[in-house]
């Protein structure tokens, strides 16, 4: 049990190291069990004494980084993760409590004098009763405004608290506390008789709360509307790049906006398209082998030998006259030709299939209820004639895992119902669309990891770079400031547009 603990800590430290080293491409697998078994055999007593110092403790860091194994584990046990749900419910309960306190405080201010010293209170005149109406309506407006701004369905759960919301909550709490303090000391203790003053005090609190709500709108919503940064988002696997204009957001909020746009703008991630370049890369260095002619050197020279080996390999690979560029060119030309041929066959097959069915008119429906089909059956009827061509095309363009037969038939039924042409039906198969277009099982990871060198609650700055990692790929985001535009004005008199015929021109040489 003792050694297993240590192995787990060592495993954590090693995997933390691998995820933090951005330079290395491969992630080292955790060491196998026998390695640690050797250590234990060597000297039990020595390691007993200082295992407290050598154990790596996982401390809270400002970057939220997980190793690949952890991500896989979490995505599998999403239901069992209590930590995330707890945070969400905690914040909801806190905000509800705060809202209730805020809402009931003015009412308490007004009601408490009646409860405690109602006999000594001065009668409430007309102006005072007018203030009652004002308090009621202002509280109603405050309630609606709070509901509109704060109680909206959450669309993302962020790693850290939202700084502005926390600040505002603190401010509201401070104000309410200071009002209660004043009320408690000056009004409850001394049992003030001026009821109109007390009601006016309550009205002033509601006014202050309405102004804080206005501050909340400006800080939370309006400040981020004006575009200030242009973010360049690149997918790490195939380099697809898009640009988005955002306002002054914190890094985590910007990440949420980018991910929302990712599902709609980026074409779906297709790992089958990436294998070609990898095989080329492995073939590049595969033919070279390094032989150590001088025999095994000492341990201190090992690093030097490794470095010189790699340099020699690179130099030899560069000098070798390999024809991989030739292969690439002809391979791509051949693939292009094949795709175009399959596509032509597919288009013809689909057009032909669509001519087999025809929409039935109203009169015909009443006359002959014979061989009538609803859209689903019609789709199933014409699907076999185009199935083979479609399947071959999808296989050539390596999209066959994105479409199931069920989804194709469903799409066909929808197209038939809405009178779409064959070209409209084929559009979603000929061109790879955004991730939202495909079924929910293709959305792969909804658990993204934000990797950043600065704190994720800090705002975007010029040159900020952060990473959004999911299991298969990552998005590299770079922020740039939108340039300051200096617009100058030039006035042209409309009467100044005059022309002459240029038929006899004279040029000086």
């Amino acid at each position: 049990m003792f050694f297993r603990e240590r192995s787990r800590d060592c495993h954590k430290s090693r995997s933390k190291g691998s995820s933090r080293s951005e330079k290395s491409v491969t992630i080292n697998a955790p060491p196998a069990e026998p390695l640690l078994g050797d250590q234990s055999v060597r000297g039990e007593e020595v390691q007993d004494d200082n295992w407290g110092e050598t154990t790596t403790a996982v401390t809270g860091t400002s970057e939220h980084s997980l190793s690949q194994e952890d991500i896989v584990r979490i995505s599998k046990d999403l239901d069992d993760s209590v930590g995330l749900d707890c945070k969400r419910y905690l914040s909801v309960t806190l905000s509800v409590i705060l809202g209730l306190v805020v809402f009931l405080t003015p009412l308490a201010f007004i009601i408490l004098p009646h409860l405690f010293w109602s006999d000594r209170l001065r009668a409430c005149g007309t102006a005072c009763e007018g203030l009652f109406i004002s308090v009621a309506f202002k509280l109603l407006i405050l309630l609606l405004a709070l509901w509109a701004l704060f109680f909206r369905p959450r669309k993302a759960s962020l790693p850290r608290i939202f700084v502005f919301q926390a600040l505002l909550a603190t401010l509201v709490l401070l104000i309410v506390l200071s009002y209660w303090l004043f009320y408690g000391v000056r009004i409850l203790d001394s049992q003030d008789e001026d009821y109109q003053g007390i009601v006016q005090y309550a009205v002033s609190l509601v006014d202050a709360l309405l102004f804080i709500h206005y501050l909340a709108i400006v800080l939370l919503e309006l400040r981020q509307l004006q575009p200030y940064f242009s973010l360049c988002v690149t997918r790490s696997t195939d380099g697809e790049t898009k640009h988005y204009n955002l306002g002054q957001l914190s890094i985590q909020k910007a990440a949420v906006v980018i991910l929302e746009n990712y599902y709609k703008d980026f074409t779906v991630h297709n790992p089958a398209m990436l294998t070609a370049s990898k095989s080329r890369a492995t073939r590049h260095l595969a033919g070279l082998k390094v032989y150590n002619v001088d025999g095994p050197g000492g341990n201190n020279a090992a690093a030097g030998i490794a470095q010189s080996q790699s340099r020699a390999m690179i130099a030899a690979a560069a000098r070798r006259r390999d024809s991989s560029h030739n292969e690439l060119y002809y391979e791509e030309a051949e693939h292009e030709r094949r795709v175009r041929k399959r596509r032509a066959r597919l288009v013809v097959a689909v057009e032909e299939a669509f001519t087999h069915i025809r929409r039935m008119q109203e009169e015909e429906q009443n006359k002959s209820p014979g061989d009538v089909m609803d859209p689903r059956e019609a789709a199933q009827a014409i699907f076999p004639s185009m199935a083979r061509a479609l399947q071959k095309y999808l296989r050539t363009t390596r999209q066959q895992h994105l479409h199931s037969m069920e989804s194709i038939q469903q799409h066909l039924a929808v197209c038939i119902t809405n009178n779409m042409t064959p070209k409209a039906f084929l559009e979603s198969y000929l061109i790879p669309g955004p991730t939202l277009q495909y079924g929910q099982d293709r959305w792969l990871a909804r658990q993204w990891t934000l990797i950043s060198e600065v704190s994720v609650t800090s705002g975007l700055k010029e040159g900020t770079i952060f990473l959004l990692k999911c299991i298969e790929f990552s998005l590299v985001v770079t922020a740039k400031k939108i340039p300051y535009i200096q617009l100058a004005e030039e006035f042209i008199d409309p009467k100044s547009h005059k022309f002459v015929l240029r038929l006899q021109s004279e040029t000086s040489v």
Binding site: L503, Q504, S505, E506, T507, S508, V509
Partner: protein, 125 residues
Amino acid sequence: MSFIPGQPVTAVVQRIEIQKLRDGDNLILGFSIGGGIDQDASQNPFSEDKSDKGIYVTRVSKGGPAEVAGLRIGDKIMQVNGWDMTMVTHDQARKRLTKKKEDVVRLLITRKSLEEVVRQSMMQH
């Protein structure tokens, strides 16, 4: 100086050699041209035949290389360095005259006074 389509054009020409003057980065000749097959020939003040679309000298700057070489206003340029100028556009004519690699242009020009001189000398015989 009119031409009959299908018949060769004959004219009495004078050969003029102009040395280009270097002015900073440019080589200037010191005269202005007008005319061309893409221009309106009826507005040419120097031509006899108002359908003549040749290149005419419209201005000669005082003391410039063209005046020194003997070019006069109203001359029609027939050839520049061997290139024909009777059937060119205005821009092509400008380009043939302002080639940066050539320091000297040899023009064949014709004017009405030349013909008269030739006729007079022939009449004397």
